[in-house]
């Protein structure tokens, strides 16, 4: 790991706050997608998607019963990968 200098504390403080604001940004993006596929496509915007047929019904129904779950999975794995990378970039990983 990096050498500890006398001003290490301030560096660590700045590094930590840059890390945290990037994390918050990633979380916000993920949560927008999370809400869009479930509450959006699955429920509120379903009437707008009725013109797109999926196996005997419409896209909104598919999102409510299948699609949203698949997107949730992708979101969690994306977040884990992205954050583990971010941990290393900012030197806050667990060795």
């Amino acid at each position: 790991m990096a050498d500890q200098t006398t001003n290490a504390t301030t560096d660590v403080g700045e590094e930590a706050s840059a890390y945290w604001s990037t994390n918050i940004r990633i979380i916000k993006i993920c949560l927008v997608i999370w809400a869009l596929v479930s509450f959006g496509f699955g429920i509120v915007f379903r009437p707008l998607l009725t013109s797109i047929p999926v196996g005997g019904t419409d896209l909104g129904f598919w999102f409510a019963q299948q699609g949203s779950i698949l997107v949730f999975l992708a979101l969690i794995f994306f977040y884990a990968l992205r954050m583990n990378k971010l941990d290393r970039e900012h030197g806050v990983d667990e060795e």
């Binding site: 945290w20 999370w34 699955g42 999926v54 005997g56 019904t57 949203s68 949730f72 969690i76």
Partner: protein, 594 residues
Amino acid sequence: MDQFTLNLLFVGASFALYIGIAVWARAGSTSEFYAAGRGVHPVTNGMATAADWMSAASFISMAGLIAFTGYDNSSFLMGWTGGYVLLALLLAPYLRKFGKFTVSEFIGDRFYSKTARLVAVICLLVASITYVIGQMQGVGIAFGRFLEIDTTYGLLIGSCVVFAYAVFGGMKGVTYTQVAQYCVLITAYTIPAVFISLQLTGNPIPAIGMFSSTESGEPLLVKLDQIVRDLGFAEYTAAHGSTINMVLFTLSLMIGTAGLPHVIMRFFTVPKVSDARWSAGWTLVFIALLYLTAPAVGSMARLNISELMWPNGTSGEAVSVEQIESAPEYAWMATWQKTGLLDWEDKNGDGKIQYYNDANEELQAKAAANGWEGNELTKFNRDILVLANPEIASLPGWVIGLVAAGGLAAALSTAAGLLLAISSAVSHDLLKGQLTPNMSEKSELMAARLSMAAAIVVAVLLGLNPPGFAAQTVALAFGLAAASIFPALMMGIFSTRINNAGAVAGMLAGLTVTLVYIFLHKGWFFIPDTNLYTDADPLLGPIKSTSFGAIGAAVNFAVAYVVSGQTKETPQHIKDLVESVRIPRGAGAAVDGH
């Protein structure tokens, strides 16, 4: 070999396996009892968490609720999976970094207050006990079916088994047993679904089969919509309920998922912060295997049941009483009648059983013309659908035995996990943390076991007169967890501004409004006939009691924010604690808080 012996064989063999593992991995110290010594791999942990999570509500009850309501109950599917996104992004890694054993320990330390910890314990107990009621319902139904007795006796026998099983080991025993239970329950859920999907659509993957065409070339969902419409029921794929209620219900289930102690506790048991992130993902993979199949099980079972009741089509003659009593494909009806959860009555004495929606005006006209005197399939409890499903589709006997074992695995694993959360709340947080700090390890373990026994007695008493179908009872527990625990945890991590007074006021406000709203609709302390309102005509417009958790959570956030603004600022050492929780570096092994 008859079906009863076959069921007994499958259930017996799976139990022998679980008990064997529990004995092999028996907990020795308190740390092993609660958190398995933190030596659990993310994939293993994910599988165990999935088993812990998928309870009688997911396995036994959910597909039945979807089958009889259709699209409107998609909330269960989105809510109970979407919560993992919140858990993975907002809570799991930080709580792991914090490194204590229980949720209330985090709340007590972050809000530097014994009162906050006590309030958190109370919230946990209220949510967990409500949850156990739902589990015991499922246990009662599963035992009732496979022993072919009334569900009340099933419940009593089942509760003894659950207790004996949970008391055996702590988290460590439970973790490895739950891996075995996951394997049993997912096999039991998937195999009949694959068979049925092949029968109906020729596609071996139920999640795809559901959107495929039947033999006649007509899409399965179109055919289903047509049949249920003919019988006067609401169309399967269309939306009927209030959009606001559906959004709030889904949100309550999601937030509740991220606020339930027995799920959060799981993320304390992984070795590293990065593992906590992965673990949430793996858990959802294992959960999704069942959740993607569940809507297929629901729609296909609804189609099969409707066709069995109208073997000559909806415009032909209904099934005759004689057929139900003698034909092998109707044998399941007689077996389920014994549990008291399924019944029929030839009201007009024409020797046939007409199944239709007698509240529908169009159908009332048709009934008058044909001499029907009301729906004659008088009772069909939604909770029996998954367990009866292989019998309804005339699948081989071993599949039926496997499903019985799977249903019990689901109910048992969650009941055990919840009892563990309850016992750790009482013995670790309440007694050792607050009342008798000098308690020895031995008496702590004793207190843990005694509180399990007390919790199970309460759950059985309330489970005899449950406030809804199993998944609905469980949904109430999620509302309570959503309104009380989740906001406190989230604010504790993402805001340094929320102080001790704010957190305590927020949790109390969220819990109280939600509990009162539920009791107003479901009866005080779930005692029947003490309710002032019903979910058919709720107090606040379209908002049902199961959907109120999201509003309770909003109340919690608002109260905490306002009270924190009016009281003394959070001290510096707590702000430092929050800063340290936010970065993974330095996450050591967790320590006992005392």
